[in-house]
Symmetry: C2
DNA sequence: TTAGCGTCCGAACGTTCGGTTGCTATAGTG
DNA sequence: CACTATAGCAACCGAACGTTCGGACGCTAA
């Protein structure tokens, strides 16, 4: 990294700091991310790093934003062109599974990890994490409702219940991949999603449950 | 805590340290558990605390053991008298849900939290966490197989698949309780378990899924 | 009575933490 | 060209970290 930078180049520096931060925080956690390590790995001074954010907490929030962009690009963007409702719900589960399978973040799902790290300590970071989960849950709920309205899912389906179960599957996948490195995990997740989101042909008998 | 203790009383001291450690580590994590804080809260010196374990890592392993005893007493012991198979599987899901609902550990499931904290860093602590999950998963698998053999679950049931899904439900419950404090979460979990572990009367048609 | 063991303290160790301060060199502005 | 704003550095701060060490104390066995 060159000794001194223009105002325009400084944005690149900030961006580079965030890239590095996401990589570190993914495995070490947002709290395990330290200014000193960041500075060393980037060939900068600590104050040079901190100058872009002001405080570690502000850095953590910025890292959360950056991770959110990556998540969105990986999981949500690919499915915006898919037909809303059941099709999109299935598609987003698949991109999500793939995102975990490909280890987009080396430490697993960035937000699941952040949730576990911060759910017990109040503050802006916790609030930001919770807000992202709320927003994400909201999108899944919307697609589920559309699927029910379209008759693609049974009329009595409780969207909150279904989304709860889907989140559980993805958390189980994340956990199994990270802790056990079990290559069958993604298969389990896909199979469960397929079963749970089985098409419900309107005005037709439910087929005799292949499992 | 009295100024000095006999050799016999020292076991109480060690036990008190572990109790305190479990409480702290539940919310702050096993790494966030510090010798200094422990010493302050117990009215001891840092060396007095560390003398019982030798190192922080050894303390963490001891804390994991203590937490395991609590988990076992809360979740497993109550169901050992239940008929093996589907009945016990249902019962253990219920004690598990209850254990999360009652916040036996204030920071949620101790081992799910430990898994997320250590899955990315090799070492004895990580190995211990993984071992506990393996053991627990093994017990669930055993009960599932028994249930299938007894005909209480469909013959084609894949035990690994079912256990994967059950773990997901409990992780979703843990997450939802800790991050969102959603009072409906336990209801979602119970409903999903009930559906997933619905009785499968041998030699009878599957009833038209009340869903 | 005394030797010895185990418990625990107090102090210090080297390191790392987040953060601050004073400064220099540069880019952009008039 | 002079002036201001800022990116970044080097040095440093107080606090907290895990760990080590010598010694003081209480108990038990010889």
């Amino acid at each position: 990294m060159s000794p001194r930078r223009s105002a325009a180049e400084a944005r690149d520096t900030r961006s580079a700091i965030l890239d590095r931060s996401v990589a570190i925080a993914s495995t070490e956690g947002l709290e395990g991310l330290t200014i000193g390590r960041l500075a060393t790995e980037l060939g900068m001074s600590k104050s040079g790093v901190l100058g872009h954010f002001g405080s570690k907490e502000a850095l953590q929030l910025a890292v959360l934003d950056r991770a959110g962009e990556i998540f969105r690009a990986e999981v949500w963007t690919p499915v915006v062109s898919v037909t809303p409702g059941l099709a999109r719900l299935r598609a987003v589960c698949e991109t999500w599974i793939s995102y975990l399978e490909r280890a987009v973040f080396p430490g697993g799902c960035f937000f699941v990890a952040a949730a576990h790290e911060f759910d017990g300590r109040p503050g802006p970071v916790r609030d930001a994490v919770e807000g992202r989960f709320d927003a994400w849950r909201g999108r899944l709920l919307k697609e589920t409702r559309r699927a029910v309205e379209a008759g693609d899912l049974p009329a009595g389906t409780d969207p909150g219940q279904l989304v709860f179960e889907l989140m559980g599957l993805l958390m189980a996948l994340n956990h199994t991949l990270q802790l056990h490195h079990d290559p069958n995990a993604a298969g389990h997740a896909r199979r469960a999603v397929r079963t749970r989101l089985a098409a419900h042909p309107p005005a037709a008998r439910p087929q005799p449950a292949m499992k």
